[in-house]
Amino acid sequence: MANQDSRLRVRKSDDVIHVEFVDRNILDEANIQQIGEEITQLIDGAPKPKLLISFSHVDHLSSAALGTLITIHNRIREKGGQLRLAEIDPQIYEVFVITKLNKLFEIHDDVERAMKSFA
């Protein structure tokens, strides 16, 4: 059931949880914390979570948002799951390159390729 106050749009396709952000700017600490909590609930609800996060509507994010993504990555790995990121705007992708987080995350140009990459 969709939650009216959720910061996420969530779809389930086969065994993959596909998450999109409601906000264009992922900057406010309270929003980032809420996003982290909502995604953690999704991860905890699956034995070996396969999570795809799409950034198609995102224009800006902060280092705090990157921190939440890292926490999500670590939690999924602990559970033996898989995380993919997709549809990242070139300006934001540069932030991943500068921080070298493009080496930590598996990032795909589009959702279709990301979906196919799940084992």
Binding site: L27, D28, E29, A30, H60, S62, S63, A64, L66, G67, T68, I70, T71, H73, N74, Q91, V95, I98, T99, K100, L101, K103, L104
Partner: protein
Amino acid sequence: MPEKQPSKPLHESVTLRNDPDEIRDAENKLLRAVERMGYSSASAFAVRLALEEAVVNGFKHGNRNRPGSTVKLEWSVDPDRIRILVEDQGIGFEPDQVPDPREPENLERPSGRGIMLMRAYMTRVEYSKSGNRVEMIYERPSSD
């Protein structure tokens, strides 16, 4: 019709409370000045990112989220460069002591990327000796 580029530098000084709407309004005011002065969207992206990180650091690490604490923001935008000054009420820190988040052993740590991003996107980032004030300079790139 596009707005005429101002002939004089635009500037402002404001004391911010730790209120998301107040911070967002102040950021938007600077970004409007950046846009009015004819900087590109890539420059605006860089300024927004660095400003966001500096203000968040000021409240979170400088003021340690103390209730009622404030952060001072001063900026000026002229045709060639943008200057941003952010000052918190904390005791300061040694920026050189912050570990490089790009090192393999730090890559999975969720925090510690703010200063590195500020340095990456600004032309110059300098902390005061006391460590509670940062001055950031962005020079207009030739591509703008």
